[in-house]
């Protein structure tokens, strides 16, 4: 029963026109990046962070793409899915239908969280795969050069990419869980998206003020830059672990609030 409900949820999300458009947009990112670096590759590279080592290093494109998208694009997509999941269903009156079927409210949240996770993983993986293809096609590759100047074999590089996919997906799901909590309080999906994106942007702005450094450890966005450590060699897991724990706290809070709201909500 649960598997068929989960399957139905994912099929339903995949059938949405906006999901298709969103995925299409996400896939464009690594292609544009690869193309951009390729056309600019006559100059001597340079630039901060990963951008500096992209030249001739196509395997880094998926990681660079995901790292870049994590700041805005992926939270946006997660918030859209979370918004449609509860607020959108309430708006169309379909949430009532599900509850009367009946689907218990806890299970409903589980189904929604699963849909969000499955689709996030799918979107992130899709971006990474397209990134590998576009990156190697435009920029070529012999393994993967790390930020530490070492060169990994293709297999080792793929392991790094898979690790990064999982880390980024987890961040995305945590943001989505908080968005689900917002989603459970309203019938307007746009409110959910606006609230989520505003929060992410405000967090990033707050993160720029050194005078607010007491606040920074609480902001989920603080954990984003640390994920780049996947591209160092050997990988220092300290920051990666901290970022993941931070996101895990958001996941717990978001899921808990959404559950509390759903259980007590009148529909």
């Amino acid at each position: 029963m649960i598997t068929r409900q989960l399957g139905s949820e994912v099929r339903w999300m995949l059938r949405r026109p906006r999901t298709i458009i969103g995925l299409f947009g996400l896939v464009l990112v690594p292609i544009i990046i690869s193309f951009g670096i390729w056309t600019a590759s006559d100059e001597g590279g340079g630039g901060p962070g990963l951008a500096a080592i992209l030249k001739g290093n196509g395997m880094v494109v998926p990681i660079f793409t995901l790292f870049l998208s994590l700041n805005l694009l992926l939270p946006l997509v997660a918030s859209i899915w979370a918004a449609d999941g509860l607020a959108g269903e309430a708006q169309h009156g379909t949430l009532r239908g599900l509850l009367v079927a009946p689907v218990s409210r806890v299970r409903l949240l589980f189904v929604k969280l699963f849909g969000l996770t499955a689709m996030s993983l799918f979107a992130v993986t899709l971006m990474a795969v397209v990134g590998i293809i576009a990156g190697t096609a435009f920029l070529g590759t012999d393994g993967m050069m790390t930020l530490s100047g070492t060169t990994l074999s293709t297999a080792e590089g793929l392991v790094r990419i898979v690790l990064f996919i999982l880390l980024v997906t987890f961040q995305m799901v945590s943001i989505g869980a908080v968005a689900l909590a917002v989603s459970s309080t309203t019938e307007h999906p746009l409110v959910v998206q606006a609230a989520t994106m505003t929060t992410i942007i405000v967090f990033q702005v707050l993160g720029q003020f050194p005078s607010l450094d007491w606040l920074h450890p609480f902001l989920i966005t603080t954990g984003f830059p640390g994920l780049i450590d996947v591209m160092r060699d050997p990988i220092p897991f300290g920051q990666i672990w901290d970022s993941t724990l931070l996101a895990g706290c958001y996941l717990l809070i978001g899921t808990g609030l959404a559950a509390m709201r759903l259980i007590t909500k009148d529909n």
């Binding site: 409900q5 169309h92 379909t94 009532r96 509850l99 009946p102």
Partner: protein, 334 residues
């Protein structure tokens, strides 16, 4: 129970009930949406729930389906106490509440398949067949491949009905099922309700269209201002409430005075009077009038329909509150 006429019909029924509520109350903030609702839905009955908009019909239905948590009171649904038993009861309940709810970007069929995936009583292998059957039943088979977005109001309503009928149900709850339907559609809904009744399902139909209820229901519950003002078998209710005499006379004032003296309730209506026959009889009324020297041109036994009953029930309430009776009638029509 709040009016004298409902007294004989609220006697507790001893036979099995599909649903029962006791002292149901729901507050939203400081407003009371529903109060002291004691509803009884006998097994196999078709209960018409009547009431003007805002009378608490939908809130009551939503509480019955476990969508809304009552502030006070008890609910029993198909032998299960709510809210604990809601998951045992609801698989046997088909519902169309507050209009059909579907995803605009999916076709009618895809929408039903999604609903079916969440039906506990429907084995996976039977989903396809159940969906086709339901579409056929509501006459949507031809339009099933089209997107819900493009459906007319009537088609949407039918799809909603199909969703409620995916699985054989013990109880079907239909909230305003004929909304947006043309006369032919309305007839089809009536046919479906009759079929369900024949198959032994219990049906709860809420509506503000009295004729519809009169045509399809075996039982009636009238809600007004958040509470049940009358309920029982349709025939009993009509009998109990259906006694009035219309008297055409030029001498309305004198007639009213005479009747008042005789403690018979009456009020002016058109060219004459409308006389209530509660506690009195037609010959007695005529006698009183004639004795008072009032010329009676014509006296007609009022043909009581549900509309009349409904108007009187809700009006009586208004009169008690010292408000105009016209509002209620208007409210009852939409």
């Amino acid at each position: 129970m709040t009016t004298s006429t409902s007294a004989p019909v609220t006697a507790p029924t001893t036979h099995a009930v599909a649903a029962r509520t006791k002292g149901l109350r729901k507050e939203y903030g400081s407003t009371v949406a529903v109060d002291r609702v004691d509803l009884e839905l006998p097994e196999g009955a078709v209960l018409g729930m009547l009431g003007p908009n805002g009378s608490g019909k939908t809130t009551t239905i939503r509480m019955l389906l476990g969508l809304v948590r009552p502030t006070q009171g008890e609910i029993e649904l198909l032998g299960q106490r709510l809210p604990d038993g809601v998951e045992q009861a609801l698989p046997h309940v088909g519902a169309l509440v507050e209009g059909p709810g579907f995803h605009p970007f999916l076709s009618g069929r895809e929408n039903l398949i999604r609903c079916a995936a969440f039906e506990p009583l429907l084995p996976k292998k039977q989903i396809k067949q159940a969906v086709e059957d339901a579409l056929e039943r509501v006459g949507l088979a031809q339009a099933a491949h089209r997107r819900y977005r493009g459906y007319s109001l009537g088609m949407k309503q039918r799809l909603g009905l199909a969703g409620a009928l995916l699985v054989p149900r013990k109880l079907v709850v239909l909230d305003e099922p004929t909304n947006g339907l043309d006369p032919a559609g309305t007839r089809e809904i009536r046919k479906i309700i009759a079929e369900l009744h024949e198959q032994g399902s219990t049906v709860l139909v809420s509506s503000h269209l009295l004729s519809e209820v009169e045509a399809t229901c075996t039982h009636v519950a009238v809600l007004h201002r958040g509470t049940v003002v009358a309920q029982g078998e349709l025939t009993e209710l009509l009998q109990a409430g259906g006694s009035a005499l219309q008297v055409i006379t030029p001498d309305v004032e004198t007639a009213l005075g005479a009747l008042r003296q005789a403690k018979i309730s009456a009020r002016p209506l058109g060219e004459g009077l409308r006389v209530e026959l509660a506690g009195t009889s037609a010959p007695q009324v005529i006698e009183t009038l004639v004795k008072a020297g009032v010329g009676v041109y014509e006296a007609t036994r009022w043909k009581t329909g549900l509309e009349e009953l409904f108007a009187r029930l809700t009006e009586a309430e208004e009169a008690e509150r010292g408000m105009s009776s016209v509002d209620t009638l208007d409210g009852g029509r939409r």
